[in-house]
Symmetry: D2
Subunit: 145 residues, 4 copies
C-alpha cells in the first residue's frame, strides 16, 4: 500500500448512542471526519487550523461517502479506527476507514473528498485546487533500501 | 411509484454548519434519519415511540448508507427533503432522500435498514423481524378506480 | 412584558436521545440556540444569514448560560419552547427559554449573549458592538392606544 | 480538596465548531458530560457500561448546569479539562469543570446531577438512589500518614 494508515483508538461515549444503546449512525461519520483530519495531522505534524495557514486552502469537503454497518457498538466499547488514503488525484482523493471492535470489522466507510480553496472570483465560495505535493509526499510510505 | 413520498421543509441551523459556513456533512445523515421517521409517522399517524408500542419492535437500524453532496447548503437556507421507500423485503428496506435547495438537488442519499425487535434469546440484543404488513400497506400509494 | 415571546413547537427526535431514552442534555442547548435565532427571525423577518448581511455583525455568542431540568422528555414527545428577551443592554442581552411538555415546565434556561462584529483591528477576532436599535424595536411589544 | 481531579486533554474538532470558527457552545456540554464519565472511570477503573452492571444503576442525569464562556476556542486548539466532584449528598452530587487553553481558564462549568436507578414500581421510569459508598470512597483523595 503506497499511503500510510493512521490508527485512532477511542471509547464510545454515552452521548453518541441512541435509545437502542448503540451508536447513532450519523455519529460514525463525525468520528470518520475526525479520523481523516487525524491522518493529515499525523502526516504533516499540523492541526487542521495550522494546515489552513500553511497550505493556503479552505478544507476538504465531502463529495461522496458510504458506510456499511456490520456490528453495533455501544457506550463504553473501546474501538480502533484505521484510516488510509487509497487514491489521490489532482484535487480529489479517496479515504477508507475500518472501525474495529475486539479486532473485528464493525463499520467500513469510503469517502471521496476534494481539496478546496477560496474562489478568487468570489471569496464567499470555495473552489477545488490541487492537493499540495508536499502533503501527498508526507502521506506516502517510504521503503528503506 | 408504489410508495408515498414524504416531504419535510426546514431551515438549516447555525449549529449544523462548520467553520466553512456550510452544513457539517454528518448532520445531513441526522436530517435523513429524522426524515425516515417522519415518513413512517406520516403513513401511520404515530410517533416513533408510539410505533414501538403499537408494532412491538425496537427500531430500524442502518445497514448501509451512501450520500452524494452536489451543492453546499449554509445556515439560513430553506430546504426540502423528499423521502421515499424504494423497496421493501421481508425485514430490510431501502430509502432514498432528495434534499433540494431552490428546487435543485443538493444532496442525494440511499439507505438500507432492517426492521428489528428484541432478541427473544437475549433481551440485550436485537434481531431482525418482519416489517408489519400494516405498515407496508400504509406506505403504499393507492390508486382510485 | 416589554419584549415579544416566540414559541417553537417540535417533536423530540430519536437521535437527540441517549441510551436512557431521554434527551441527551447538550441537545437542549442546541434547541435553545435555534430558538434564540427563531426569535430574532420572527421579529425581523430575516434568517440569521440575512441578518448578518443586513446588520453587518458576526453573531451573538454565549457568555453565560444555565438550565434546570425538571421533567425528562423522550423521543416522540411533542414539546413547545417559549423564548423571550428579558433584558437588553448596549451589547449584551438576556434570554429565557421555557420548554413545556403537556403544558408543564420541563426545562428552564437562561442565557446572556453578546452582539459581536469582526474586530476592525484583527478580522480573525470578534468584538462586541451595539445591538442595532431597529432590532430592539422589532422585538418590543407595542400596545395599541 | 477531598475529591480527586481528573484531567482530560484533547484537540477541538472541526465539526465541533460553528461558522464563526469557534466551538458551538452546546458541544462544550457534550465534552463536560464525557469528562464527568471519565472522572468516574478513572476512579473506578470501569467504563460507564461496566459501572451500570457493577453498581446496578441507570445513570446520573443532569438536574442543573451552568457554564461561563470566557475565552473562545477553535478547531485545532489543544485544551485540557479538569473535572472535580465538589460535593456529594445521598443521591445528588456537584461537579465543576475547568476548561483551559494555554493554561488560561476558557470555560467554567457547574453541574448538579442525581444518581438514579430504574423505578421498581415502573421500569420505564427512573428514580434517585444512593450513590454507592464504594464509588465515593474511590473518588476521595487519601493522604498518606
Amino acid at each position: 500500500m503506497p499511503f500510510l494508515t493512521n490508527t485512532v483508538s477511542r471509547r464510545i461515549a454515552w452521548g453518541e448512542c441512541d435509545p437502542a444503546g448503540i451508536v447513532f449512525y450519523p455519529r460514525y461519520f463525525e468520528m470518520f471526519d475526525n479520523c481523516t483530519t487525524a491522518m493529515f495531522s499525523t502526516a504533516t505534524g499540523l492541526s487542521k487550523y495550522q494546515m489552513f495557514e500553511t497550505y493556503k486552502f479552505a478544507g476538504y469537503p465531502m463529495v461522496d461517502t458510504r458506510a456499511r454497518f456490520l456490528i453495533p457498538t455501544r457506550f463504553g466499547d473501546d474501538i480502533t479506527i484505521e484510516t488510509t488514503m487509497t487514491e489521490a488525484k489532482r484535487s480529489s482523493f479517496n479515504i477508507t476507514h475500518h472501525l474495529k471492535k475486539d479486532g473485528a470489522l464493525a463499520v467500513e466507510a469510503f469517502e471521496t473528498r476534494v481539496w478546496v480553496g477560496r474562489d478568487p472570483a468570489d471569496a464567499a465560495k470555495i473552489k477545488s485546487q490541487p492537493i499540495p505535493p508536499e502533503v501527498i509526499a508526507k502521506l506516502t510510505l517510504r521503503t528503506s533500501s
